[in-house]
Symmetry: C2
Subunit: 113 residues, 2 copies
């Protein structure tokens, strides 16, 4: 999986969250993926828990925008972005790890609560 | 360990690398720490290997500067920075994990080779 393919998944992810597109979320994550958002909280384990997590944002109007380059290294990508919810903006770094099928198998979100 | 303490370690780290200060590097890392830089390469394991790694930059004139906020979550901190070496600038995200003594026990560096 080259850098261009990883960046494509990251862009798909930002779009999925920004448009409440759970079909796209399902396409991005592996069935056995984990999501830890923010790091230090109990991870969501498996695609059902992950879809429930993203489903809980539905209608909130979250918009995600990259604010720096996507860094691709090994089986991972780290990317800095802004999560805008109405007038509030949160500065976040996410780290994706990919499996051999190009699916995200681990997501960790770093932001200061 | 609160966010302010983690940020202090990050700032100490940027200073240590920018001034070739291996004493400071030794102060920051736990004896059993690992450094994976970039992610996907064999990690440096233990303080001796880590000091040898940073020692190899000696005299190269690397300058590290934050280019976004330090994100503190759980036992971790993620921070985006620029590594300047002469006319070349590399955009990097590092993730630190801290042990109970406030030492960095894992460092992962994400940058596109």
């Amino acid at each position: 999986m080259d850098a261009a393919q990883k960046i494509q998944v990251v862009e798909k992810y930002l779009l999925a969250v920004s448009t409440d597109n759970l079909d796209l979320i399902r396409e991005i994550y592996a069935d056995n993926a984990t999501v830890e958002d923010p790091v230090g909280t109990p991870p969501k384990e498996g695609i059902a828990a992950i879809l429930a997590f993203y489903g809980s944002f539905k209608g909130v109007g979250v918009k995600l925008t990259l604010n720096g380059a996507v860094k691709c290294a090994g089986n991972a990508a780290a990317f800095p972005f802004t999560a805008q919810v109405g007038p509030r903006a949160l500065d976040v770094i996410d780290v994706f790890e990919f499996d051999k099928n190009g699916k995200v198998v681990s997501m960790k979100a770093y932001w200061t609560p």
